[in-house]
């Protein structure tokens, strides 16, 4: 049942406990309990909205992908460095990756300047960080499974026999 509930919420954080209860076939109270427990167990981390800021003419946003080569620490491996990097709030996502570099960061900040500052003044100074490569994002096409443009889809006929 937990899996069914998570699938529904992952796609639509708005789904009410009543709706979920109908879909899964249990009581609303039971759904509430399962969700509460999942939140406690940090299976559910947060409820968020996928926003296309480019359309909202809000504040300027700059996205960057930053590859980081690190020297793992003898005891803690990559985890210790990763947890240090993860503390910066501009680091939206952080992954350990196979290949020519070790950590991949998705950084979101207000300007290229700020991203540059973060790299030169914060990231580069962390012990074990050997090299970084910064790629500024020119355009986002798809985020979290959602197309940013042209995702409205094609219109169906409204009545079909």
């Amino acid at each position: 049942m937990l899996k069914d509930i998570l699938k529904i919420l992952e796609n639509d954080a708005h789904a009410s406990e009543k709706q979920i209860a109908t879909m899964v076939g249990v009581s609303a109270a039971e759904v509430t309990n399962v969700i509460k427990q999942a939140e406690k167990d940090r299976i559910i981390l947060k409820y968020k909205t996928v926003v296309n800021w480019d359309k909202a003419d809000g504040d300027e946003q700059v996205w960057a992908l930053i590859e980081v080569k690190v020297k793992p620490e003898p005891e803690a491996g990559f985890d210790a460095i990763a947890s240090r990097v993860a503390r910066y709030e501009q680091v939206r996502s952080l992954y350990l990756a196979s290949g020519t570099y070790d950590l991949l960061l998705v950084v979101v900040d207000k300007s290229e300047h700020k991203v540059a500052d973060f790299v030169s003044q914060n990231l580069a100074h962390i012990d074990g960080v050997q090299a970084t490569v910064t790629h500024f994002v020119l355009k986002r096409y798809k985020d979290d499974g959602e197309l940013l443009d042209g995702g409205e889809g094609v219109k169906r006929q409204q009545v079909v026999l």
Binding site: Q19, M23, G25, R156, Q158, V160, L161
Partner: protein, 394 residues
């Protein structure tokens, strides 16, 4: 639609005049200039075809696969269809001679009727039924004979009721389960009873199983998989609903060789072959589309539960439809006819549904609501309908 007299009327054949235009024409017209309509009136998935399936067709076009295929359809597609039917239902039909790839179940249905009917032959079908059923019989100059079904019996059909309609002229029984418009399914036992009647009277059963994969409780029983029915069965199936491929126009008929040969003759002269890119897409669907089907079915099922509960909660009694993607609630608490209800609902609350009467006399008092639409729209439609029902309740 008032038919005006015209000097051109004399050119229209009796055959064409014998089928009535679809009962929902006027809803199209009404809808034309309305905004913010939520439509539960559709009859197709709200998914686009899974991209890898579309991409297979795109690639084939790039490579220049733009010619006719064999009349029967691409052999690989027939092989895969044969394998699919074997894996799914344990039935065995030869790719050569027993499977014909068609322009959807729509064409397959027309071919089946034209291949087996002589003028005046009777075909027994349920009332209500999918709109093309009686039309296809009439166009083949046969005579549709109705068996009443009702919400009391969850719109399943009883073999004895069918048997009661058999005459010397009866040639075939046409069934379509899971059902459009009711969402009804048939238990294996009911199908076995029906098979016994068909065999006893040596009738052909045409089984339209286009919604087979959209079965939410228990397993779908393929009519052709029942013991000893092969010589009495034409099985129709397709890709439109399960793989979200309505616009591609591809489906199939499987039957004994004599029947397929007759159908292929007509197909050959009227269609040549199903669209080549669509056949390529169907190949991809059968090869790799299974996870997509499973995911879409799970999603329809969630919405099905919400809409059925919703109708019952707002006072439109709705039996549990176990297949397809339609709910068929009763609107009798409002005292309106289904056509009146549908028209007023569209005008007052901007929700489009299809009156049950468009599917036969026994559909009167019901509306067909397709839940292959977003959950948000279903919720909003239910809110609007609740308001409407409160206002009009007797």
């Amino acid at each position: 639609m008032t038919a005006k007299k015209s000097p051109l009327d004399k050119f229209i054949s009796k055959r064409a005049n014998n089928v009535s235009p679809s009962g929902i024409r006027k809803f199209f017209d009404l809808l034309q200039d309305m905004e913010n309509v939520i439509s539960l009136g559709v009859g197709e998935p709200d998914y686009a075809t899974p991209w890898h399936i579309s991409e297979a067709a795109v690639k084939s076009l790039e490579k220049g696969y733009t010619m006719y295929t064999s009349n029967s359809g691409i052999l690989e597609l027939r092989n895969l269809t044969s394998q699919y039917l074997k894996d799914k239902y344990g039935i065995s039909y030869k790719p050569e001679g027993e499977i014909l790839i068609t322009v959807g179940v729509s064409e397959a249905l027309d071919l089946a009727m034209r291949a087996i009917l002589n003028p005046g032959d009777e075909v027994i079908m349920t009332d209500p039924h999918y709109v093309a059923y009686d039309a296809s019989v009439i166009l083949a100059e046969g005579k549709p004979v109705m068996v009443r079904t009702s919400a009391k019996n969850n719109f399943a059909v009883e073999a004895k009721d069918i048997e009661a309609k058999i005459t010397a002229k009866t040639k075939a029984i046409l069934i379509g389960f899971p059902s459009n418009p009711t969402g009804a399914v048939m238990t294996r036992q009911k199908l076995l009873d029906l098979a016994a009647v068909a065999k006893k009277h040596n009738l052909m059963v045409i089984s339209d199983e286009i919604y087979a994969r959209l079965t939410y409780e228990g397993e779908h029983t393929c009519f052709a998989s029942l013991p000893g029915v092969k010589n009495n069965t034409i099985l129709l199936g397709g890709f439109s609903k399960a793989y979200a491929m309505t616009g591609w126009r591809v489906g199939y008929a499987v039957a004994p060789p004599e029947i397929i040969a007759a159908m292929t003759k007509i197909h050959q002269y009227t269609i040549m072959c199903a669209p080549t890119p669509a056949q390529v897409a169907a190949i991809e669907a059968l090869k790799t589309g299974e996870p997509d089907v499973v995911e879409m079915v799970e999603d329809y099922n969630r919405r099905r539960k919400v809409i059925v509960k919703g109708f019952n909660d707002i006072g439109l009694p709705c039996f549990e439809p176990k297949g397809a993607f339609y709910a068929f609630p009763s609107i009798t608490p409002t005292g309106m006819t289904s056509e009146r209800f549908s028209e007023a609902l569209l005008k007052e609350e901007k929700v489009a549904v299809v009156p049950g009467s468009a599917f036969g006399k026994c559909g009167e008092g019901f509306i067909r609501c397709c839940y292959a639409t977003s959950l948000a729209d279903i919720e909003e439609a239910l809110n609007r309908m609740e308001r409407f029902v409160k206002k009009h309740k007797k």
